[in-house]
């Protein structure tokens, strides 16, 4: 129960942050990704502000043996930079640029701009399914 309340609260703050920061405004995001044209650098402060907080606290949190309400940290321990990571991230960047939506803003768009969400979200869901199938196949080849 405690963990569910934390998850709900974390989600609420995250969603509010996306709207307040205007990260949820796809035109602003595309302007941020346009340094050779209509550059709007303000969104750098969104990631800057967020990273400032996580960078300042994560190492202290990870010094704990366990999280406050759970019995272990569920954190990726992978350290290798492989081809799949770079291809996946690059493909994600292409998608991000094409519309100005990354997953968070794409999802909350259901209550902001439902007309675009109606087109974008099904594609996001199907894309994830395709990516999942590809990843699963790749894994079985690797092992």
């Amino acid at each position: 129960m405690q963990r569910l309340i934390i998850a709900l609260t974390s989600g609420l703050i995250f969603g509010a942050g996306l709207v307040i920061s205007e990260m949820a405004n796809p035109v602003k995001v595309q302007n941020f990704l346009d340094p050779f044209g209509h550059w709007d650098p303000s969104l750098a402060f969104v990631m800057g502000g967020a990273v400032m907080v996580t960078l300042g606290t994560s190492r202290f949190i990870m010094k704990r043996k366990t999280p406050i309400f759970a019995d272990q940290f569920y954190i990726s321990l992978k350290t290798s930079i492989d081809r799949r990571l770079i291809i996946g991230a690059s493909l994600f960047g292409i998608g991000w640029g094409l519309s100005g939506y990354c997953p968070g803003p794409g999802i909350i768009n259901a209550v902001i701009n439902p007309i675009e969400a109606l087109v974008f979200l099904p594609a996001l869901v199907i894309g994830g399914w395709i990516g999942q199938r590809y990843s699963a196949r790749g894994n079985s080849i690797q092992h």
């Binding site: 942050g17 996306l18 969104v46 990273v51 350290t79 994600f92 292409i94 991000w96 974008f120 894309g127």
Partner: protein, 139 residues
């Protein structure tokens, strides 16, 4: 260029960082939106494993809804083809690359994960290239 200091962007960013820290410190989880979404959709989960993700998603949409008085001009008439191509690329890319702006860009960099730093550099570069090409040669 910037005319005024982007305090809204900074404040919103700090909220996002705080949300991630809360989830990590109390639940030991990464606030990576793509990971949470696709685990819900495509991995057979039950009990708390499923429910915390549902709670996070409900909160995400609810939090945005409460803030809607902060309005910006809605985009209208954007190409559906671009929206579909974008959704597919974001979906496939975040699954293959194990994360998006939140998981790699906010949480991963906060942990000084080399994978996340590399992923963030990669999606920033490809995002900039995409918008530059889209606006100068297509749009």
């Amino acid at each position: 260029m910037l005319e005024t200091f982007p305090s809204q962007a900074l404040f919103g960013g700090i909220l996002i960082g705080f949300s991630a820290v809360l989830l990590l410190a109390f639940n030991g989880r990464t606030a990576g939106i793509s990971g949470i979404l696709y685990n819900l959709l495509y991995n057979p989960l039950s009990g708390t494993e499923r429910n915390w993700r549902l709670c996070f998603m409900a909160g995400l949409v609810g939090g945005a809804y409460f803030m809607l008085p902060v309005e910006f001009e809605l985009r209208q008439g954007y190409s559906p083809v671009l929206l579909i191509a974008s959704g597919l690329a974001v979906g496939i890319g975040t699954r293959i690359g194990n994360g998006c702006t939140s998981g790699h860009g906010v949480c991963g960099i906060g942990m000084l994960s080399v994978r996340s730093i590399a992923a963030t550099v990669a999606f920033m570069i490809s995002g900039i290239l995409t918008v530059t090409i889209l606006r100068n040669f297509i749009g």
